[in-house]
Symmetry: C2
Subunit: 399 residues, 2 copies
Amino acid sequence: MSTHEPPKGYLALVLVIGLMSGTSADGVDAALVEWPEGERARPFRLVAFREEPFPPELQERIHRLAAGRVPGAEALRELASLDVLLGERFAEAAAAVARSAGIGLERVDAVASHGQTVGHYPELRATLQIGDPSVIAERTGLTTVADFRPRDVAAGGEGAPLAPFFHYAVLGDPGESRAVLNLGGIANLTWIPRAAAPDDVIAFDVGPANALIDGVVRAQTHGREHMDREGRRALRGKVDAGLLARLLDDEYLRRAPPKSTGRERYGLAEAEALAEEWSRLGKAPDDLVATLVTFTAEAVAAACRDFLGQDASIDRLLVGGGGARNPALLEALRGALAGTRIEAFDQAGVPSQAAEAMAFSLLGRNALLGIPNHLPRCTGARRSLVLGEMVPGARGTRR
Amino acid sequence: MSTHEPPKGYLALVLVIGLMSGTSADGVDAALVEWPEGERARPFRLVAFREEPFPPELQERIHRLAAGRVPGAEALRELASLDVLLGERFAEAAAAVARSAGIGLERVDAVASHGQTVGHYPELRATLQIGDPSVIAERTGLTTVADFRPRDVAAGGEGAPLAPFFHYAVLGDPGESRAVLNLGGIANLTWIPRAAAPDDVIAFDVGPANALIDGVVRAQTHGREHMDREGRRALRGKVDAGLLARLLDDEYLRRAPPKSTGRERYGLAEAEALAEEWSRLGKAPDDLVATLVTFTAEAVAAACRDFLGQDASIDRLLVGGGGARNPALLEALRGALAGTRIEAFDQAGVPSQAAEAMAFSLLGRNALLGIPNHLPRCTGARRSLVLGEMVPGARGTRR
């Protein structure tokens, strides 16, 4: 699945299964990745990847718990129950990804699990991920690394973002300055100057991406469609210069990093307000979609111009996330960032949908080897640390 | 503090701080123990011990959370908050016990923390201890081992009792059959035949101990006294044969191990009922206390006779817990177990109040060295495991 085949005769390899379950709680991604046994992350190879959906009842229970809708008398019991149930699910996903690659679990070195976030309380310096690593270790027989974020938080960091470490280790280049752009609900950018040291990396949330575009399509179609498939609406529409200027005149976009945002700022509420205004003015629905796509691209271009340091020049922009499969968005990015090579993660051996699970596979490998696995400049932690809590596998030791 | 001084020239030592915070949530016990670096637990040395009380507000918050009295909308936030706050407290207790021994934390190998139990759900195969080990590791700079119970539960065990492993490793003897009796609220017994293998050990809750005795004194004094200090009431009183026979005619006492019980069965409710009946009958209050002390001792003797296997003969009974400081209870035990040598834990290098924290120090040492640290026959786990989740210290690796 990757162009990064290890050179022949390369023997000291570490096989780690990375597991990621996002806040949408719709399932768990599992990536089995082969890494070298050392400080460097390359050459690596994605051996197998699977997405295992959660049953709707489980998804509903997670959302109820995270939303504080479980009564107080039952909340801890439900938390403990889901901790174990998710541990079982995660263990099954790990077993399934190894099976799909025809690799016995006994040949795998470790499982690295992000866990399911059910609470994040920056004001308390606390974050809560569940999916019991003891259950994963017991079921798979593999050393399991989990709870990466709490250590970063304990060291004064935000516990996030963690993906930039993976971008840095896997997509950075000694001869080329690169920006890694993940177009999910929110657009995240990781800036990796040529031959960067860990502290040269800058990462932040640029602003909205699919959260607004999808939200507007949902509102315009009264929920019949959830996204602008293949960017067809945007490609048909015309950009409205007035709205574009208004959207770009935004306090969050102007603010210098470190910064992060989410769907509470750029989400369904704003999308619905925009769609309603557009409809009231009698304008063509597709023009709104086209304008939001261009807004996303222009916001990225502005961030690249303003926040990557003086004289920063992007040789290559690597794009991933759902937005990377939207031709209209890619075209808009090419327009906004003329002269920059723009390509998908995939071409660097990281299929876009597998990126997050692969990131935790790398974080787990590093924990196993005692190598730091975060970027303190990006998270705000006081110093470089080995994040993660380790549960020994059946062999009783870490390896 | 111990008679078990390591022999001169013995160098490969492991220093581990054990932390224990019981369900009463009144504070954390910290024991700094020196162990050999290997399979064997002896010779060991308790270097320092401290009891650090929690402020009443913290204790109250823990009890509210564990009792399900925090509203659902706040419960997870409160859990995450206490997880971090207790992590800070535990880290301070670890630092304090090292300081009191004049030993810099950088000379200590690890911290092992039981955590504060806020939920235990055998029917869900789940157990919930808090006190974030990432916080302990970050503050102390030491590799921290925590969450011992969940792995045993994941392997089909009860996650308890864990102390018998410590009794076995530290108090067992190649030439002598020993029973270890802990007289807390409940009386727990660990039977370690001469030259026992791990699977020869039997451990179970015998029945009530201080829970009933203290509860009756509390009821009789309307809360002015919380215990029968020095056993004075019991020594003054006379045993009532009728009540003694009635108490000994008990379904729980007759049931064969494995078994466990708690204050929900032998607690304040039963103590109050007994005190009320006694007062109604106009009998001397001290006679009730004396009868309960004898009942405790006779229940232990019956358990030793019935449940330790055929031809079991106890060469030495080692007694610990609060009850070991009650001369009336020790006298009653000597009467009930005529011919058995009875002495306090302390004489084996384990001060009674330090035993639990020392137990977790040993469990942590074993986790660090990859050596199993529970007795599957006692917990019901399917196989022998290394319990515990490890967070690397400042040095980034386990040691």
